[in-house]
Symmetry: C2
Subunit: 180 residues, 2 copies
């Protein structure tokens, strides 16, 4: 089985406000090869599959600057420092959509990109949600809320209507959850 | 429906060799709010679900510097400039595992993170693969190859044995593909 690389040294390359880039010099245990690796340090993220009693999923549509496209996603975002991931998911759902619910269940914790990013993604399921309030958007957000039958998700994936890979990963976790 | 933001200006903040960071000043069409957004420019990536005639999936295990952990993944990597995504997936499979196969089918194209990253992930399915050669690892790689029944994937997700979200997204695309 592969072994961890030995870290020889490390320096901060870039400070971006909400992230930092570290460069570490590492030595391979396989061949002694020394290689620089960059690590992008981000805070942890959360996302939530929110289902109504009719098995409709709460979806959001927003323009994303890096893809320069409207993206269909599930609610989620950055977990505040010290915030419980489940509470963060509940907060993001309420702020972005106005939906609230009862029990929240963790369906998985993943790594958005373990080769590059240091952070984790905590994925949750919330059933029996209902719209109980208004969105609370900050000035830099412009989010449309809609629902769709959860059974439509495979068709939406095939059609490319949902293209955010982290959102798509949550569907696989949900599938694993309900089969478990 | 939300509208694209208007871009007011843009500058390069950081050049990292295999990526570049751009900062753009954008204006919200909802409220006129001006906000800086960073875009991480990466080349496109590919990954492949490779299945043997016995419905075993070809998996790899490697230590990843950002998570500082051994990660179970499917083969994949960076598409070379000008390279066809399907050929890149075929190349990565052969280099990382020694497995080759016949027909390769695109099961989806996603965005690894449309809020931050400009690039795409092209996901493929290759059936009836077999081990026909040796791995061709570069000095900075140390990859163990193994197979597991594809039917075990939901259990592996529940157990947290696979935590790479982009890999997990490919399983959802495959599910959508076989249900289509």
């Amino acid at each position: 089985m592969p072994k961890p690389w030995e870290q020889l040294d490390s320096e901060w390359l870039f400070e971006g406000g909400f992230f930092r880039i570290e460069q570490a010099r590492l030595r391979s245990p396989r061949n002694g090869f020394e290689h620089p690796f960059m690590r992008f340090h981000f805070g942890d993220w959360c996302q939530v599959i929110a289902l109504t009693p009719q098995e409709e999923i709460v979806l959001i549509r927003q323009w994303r600057p890096a893809s320069d496209a409207l993206e269909v996603e599930i609610p989620g975002g950055l977990i505040d420092p010290g915030e419980d991931p489940a509470e963060a998911a509940r907060r993001e759902l309420a702020e972005e959509t106005g939906y609230t619910g009862g029990e929240i269940i963790r369906i998985g914790t993943t790594r958005p990109n373990p080769a590059l990013l240091t952070n984790r993604m905590h994925a949750f399921l919330m059933r029996d949600v209902e719209r109980t309030g208004a969105q609370q958007l900050d000035a830099a957000e412009d989010i449309e809320v809609f629902t769709a039958p959860y059974a439509d998700i495979p068709r939406m994936l095939r059609a490319g209507e949902i293209q955010h890979a982290l959102v798509i990963s949550a569907f696989a976790l949900y599938q694993g959850h309900i089969e478990g």
